[in-house]
C-alpha cells in the first residue's frame, strides 16, 4: 500500500512537470526582471534619520500623492515633470549633502529610477533609495 502511494505521488509529480516545462518554454524571455538595488545604494529610515540635517529628501511619487502627504521638507521630483522640478532640487543641493529618494513602498520603481537619473544624468553623488519607501517612513513616524 505504502509503495503504491509513493508510486502514485511520483507519477503525479512527473506529470506536473510537463505543463511546467511547457510554460517555462513559452514564457522564456517574457518576464521583465527588475534589477535589484545594490545594498550600498539603500538606506533604512533610521539610517536616513541619522544623517541629520545633511540630507535632502526627494519624493519621486506623482504630484497628487506628494500633495496628499510627504516627508516634512521633502522636495518633489518625479519623471512626469522632471525638467521643471530638477532645478528646485539642484538649488537645495550642495556638495557633501546626502540625497534620500523614496516612492510609495518597497515594490515601486519610481525611487530607483529617479535615483539613477540623479546619479547618471546630473552626476549627483551620495544618492540613496529609502528601504520600504513612504510606507516605511510612515510606520516609523506616525
Amino acid at each position: 500500500m505504502k509503495l503504491s502511494l509513493t508510486r502514485q505521488a511520483l507519477v503525479l509529480a512527473a506529470l506536473s512537470l510537463f505543463p511546467a516545462m511547457g510554460e517555462a518554454i513559452y514564457f522564456r524571455g517574457k518576464i521583465s526582471w527588475r534589477s535589484p538595488i545594490p545594498p550600498s545604494e539603500m538606506v533604512s529610515v533610521d539610517q536616513a534619520r541619522a544623517l541629520g540635517g545633511n540630507v535632502i529628501w526627494v519624493d519621486a511619487r506623482p504630484d497628487e500623492e506628494f500633495a496628499r502627504d510627504h516627508v516634512p521638507g521633502a522636495l518633489s521630483l518625479n519623471e512626469d515633470r522632471w525638467n521643471e522640478l530638477l532645478p528646485q532640487f539642484l538649488a537645495a543641493w550642495s556638495p557633501g549633502k546626502k540625497v534620500v529618494v523614496y516612492c510609495s513602498a518597497e515594490s515601486c520603481d519610481l525611487a530607483r529610477e529617479a535615483a539613477e537619473r540623479l546619479r547618471k544624468e546630473a552626476q549627483v553623488p551620495d544618492v540613496f533609495v529609502l528601504e520600504g519607501g513612504w510606507e516605511a517612513w510612515l510606520k516609523k513616524n506616525r
Binding site: 502514485q8 521583465s32 534619520r49 525638467n83 530638477l86 550642495s94 549627483v124
Partner: protein, 250 residues
C-alpha cells in the same frame, strides 16, 4: 493503480475542456513613439477561447504613469476584445518597461501580466545635465556634452542661458557631438542658471543646470535617538532668474 491514474488524467482533461480561457495574442508590446509624442498606447488583444464567460476583476498598472482600460467587464465565450494601456511619457527617457496586471475569474489563469516596453527616442543626449562651482572656486569653464541620437541628424544647436551671469560657448566636436562650455562671471555668490538646448529643426527642448553652490554643510551631527532629524525648509523653491536670456547659436 492504472485505473486511478487514468481517472485523474480524464478529470483534468474534462476540467480543461469546460473552462473559460482568456487568451491574449501578445503579452508584451514594444512601442516606438516619436520624439514629440506625449503618450504611447499599447493594444493587447484577447479572445475568450473557452466555453464560459470570463469576468474582469481588476486591471492594474505598475505605475501611476500608465492607465489601463478594458472595453467590457465580461467577455462571453468566443468573443474578442482588447486591454488598452496608455503610457504618459512625461519627461522620461530611454527604455521604459511598465506592466499591467489583469485579474479575471478564470480559475485556471486568474492573473495575466501584460508588458508595455516603450523605447523613447532621444534626439539629444545631454551629459552631464548639471555642472557646479563651489563658492569661491576659480570660475573656470565646465563642459557639457551633447550627443545626437543615432537615428537623427542635427547640424546646429542653440543654447540659451536664463541668467546673464553665465556665458556659454558651443563647439561642434564631430561625429554628431557638440561641446558646451559654461562659465560663471564669478563664484562670489550662490546662484544658478538653466540652459535651454534646442536643435535647429525641432521644438523639443532639453535642459541643463549650472550653479554656484553655497558653502558645504557643517560636519554631521547625528540626530538624538528617537527624534526625527532636522530637514531642509519645507517645499523650497529655486530662485528663478527673471533676467533677459542670453543665447548662442552654433
Amino acid at each position: 493503480m492504472k485505473t486511478q491514474i487514468l481517472a485523474f488524467i480524464l478529470s483534468i482533461a474534462v476540467c480543461f475542456g469546460a473552462r473559460a480561457e482568456l487568451k491574449f495574442d501578445k503579452t508584451e508590446i514594444e512601442l516606438h513613439p516619436k520624439p514629440d509624442d506625449k503618450q504611447a498606447v499599447g493594444h493587447f488583444t484577447y479572445q475568450n477561447t473557452g466555453k464560459t464567460p470570463v469576468k474582469f476583476k481588476s486591471v492594474k498598472a505598475s505605475c501611476g504613469c500608465t492607465a489601463a482600460q478594458t472595453q467590457k467587464d465580461e467577455v462571453p465565450a468566443g468573443e474578442k476584445g482588447e486591454v488598452t494601456a496608455t503610457f504618459n511619457i512625461g519627461d522620461r527617457t530611454g527604455t521604459q518597461v511598465k506592466t499591467v496586471t489583469v485579474e479575471t475569474d478564470d480559475p485556471a489563469n486568474p492573473h495575466t501580466v501584460l508588458t508595455l516596453r516603450t523605447i523613447i527616442p532621444q534626439l539629444l543626449e545631454v551629459s552631464p545635465t548639471f555642472v557646479f562651482w563651489k563658492q569661491g572656486e576659480k570660475a573656470d569653464p565646465k563642459a557639457i556634452t551633447v550627443k545626437v541620437g543615432k537615428e537623427f541628424t542635427v547640424k546646429h544647436i542653440k543654447v540659451t542661458s536664463s541668467a546673464p551671469d553665465y556665458q556659454t560657448k558651443v563647439e561642434e566636436t564631430g561625429k554628431g557631438e557638440f561641446k558646451i562650455d559654461v562659465q560663471p562671471k564669478d563664484t562670489n555668490t550662490a546662484n544658478g542658471t538653466t540652459l535651454t538646448i534646442q536643435s535647429e529643426d525641432s521644438p523639443k527642448v532639453f535642459y541643463a543646470t549650472a550653479r554656484v553652490t553655497g558653502a558645504p554643510p557643517a560636519p554631521m551631527v547625528p540626530a538624538p535617538a528617537g527624534q526625527p532629524a532636522p530637514v531642509p525648509p519645507a517645499d523650497q523653491k529655486a530662485p528663478v532668474a527673471k533676467t533677459a536670456p542670453t543665447g548662442q547659436t552654433h
